[in-house]
């Protein structure tokens, strides 16, 4: 009671403060305290499980993944609206020749203007040789610069089986944007070099 009396006496010297309604102006997000209690309960349960381990609990929790120097300084600039391109698509070029076959198949099909046709033809009905032979040369040349290699060589090299297997290509679920992107980023020289490296 003595403290309270002293406090009252102090406020006599601060009449404006004494008249102010006492109110807690600090708020917390909705459900903050109930969620905090739940969160602590979850952490306690997790720690109990971890305590039962012998090896895992003794390993330092550490991020072993690193990034190239200044990566995070440069990323916002790459993502800036003025620098935005269409979403990127990976061709998995670093993987075996079979991946190359699929990518090459798609590129050739698109470049020949027969992607839509292949999507309407079942794998049993598709005959790459027939379809290729029906493509006018001017369309082929207008789509991709093929002057430095023989398209028949490519078809033979990657194997007709890969071309015939439309199901696998369709399973990539490429939308129009991705197909367009694929064409934009396709380099004939890359394909040629890759074919030479992976003749099978």
């Amino acid at each position: 009671m003595k403290d309270f009396d002293e406090h009252k006496d102090e406020l006599k010297n601060a009449p404006f403060l004494d008249k102010m309604k006492r109110k807690n102006v600090f708020e917390v997000p909705e459900n903050y305290f109930s969620e905090m209690a739940e969160d602590w309960k979850d952490k306690a349960e997790d720690e109990a499980i971890m305590e039962e381990t012998r090896f895992l609990k003794n390993i330092e929790k550490k991020n072993i993944f690193q990034v190239p120097e200044a990566y995070f300084d440069q990323l916002p600039g790459k993502i800036a609206p003025e620098n935005q391109a269409k979403p990127k698509i990976r061709l998995f070029w670093r993987n075996p020749a079979v991946n190359l076959s699929i990518a090459a198949s798609i590129v050739i099909l698109i470049s020949l203007g027969i992607w839509g046709l292949f999507n309407r033809v079942s794998s049993q009905e598709a005959d790459p040789s027939t379809l290729l032979s029906e493509v006018p040369t001017e369309i082929l040349l207008a789509s991709v610069d093929v002057s430095e290699y023989d398209i028949n060589m490519i078809v033979e090299t990657m194997g007709e089986e890969a071309l015939k297997d439309w199901t696998e290509i369709q399973n990539l679920h490429l939308d129009e944007e991705e197909v367009s992107d694929l064409l934009d980023h396709f380099e004939v020289s890359d394909l040629e070099a890759a074919l030479l490296e992976n003749p099978e």
Partner: protein, 183 residues
Amino acid sequence: MVALKEQDLLAKLQDPGMKATAFHQLVITYQQMLYFHIRRIVIDHEDTDDVLQNTLLKAWKYIDQFRAQSSIKTWLYRIATNEALTFLSKKKKASFQDLNDIQNDLRHSLSEGKYIDGDEIQLKLQQAILSLPERQRLVFNMRYYDELKYDEIADILSVSTGALKASYHHAVRKIEEYLKTQS
């Protein structure tokens, strides 16, 4: 720089005149969180960079439709998770690989050591995590490393918190078992 409050940030993101500046702030705020989440799924830095850029491009594209039923953070996590899993799925289909092959690829990326700095025991832990089924791996990483709440992970994966807790506890036991056999 102090991060803008989420409500303020969202209002600016959905204001055409302020969107670009606000999005720049969003990228700065969340890029590291998203990068390392994706990196733990796809392992390789180059792949992570591609997936992260696609994630942010999609966030830019769809932020106008974001209705704040979850936080921006969990919304971004959800896009990143989906993009990373889609990437692995396309990789699997494009190369005629099955799940085991993909896991071997990821282990290979890990053992190559490019942009990875961990001692032997840290690498063993990562190998153990890679041996988990996909959902357990996601849950373990988000809970153990990112220290997300179960509610947040539930928002991201659209799974009940009960199932998530079970997944995490199974994951811990499997990792322990893996480490024991490797010791």
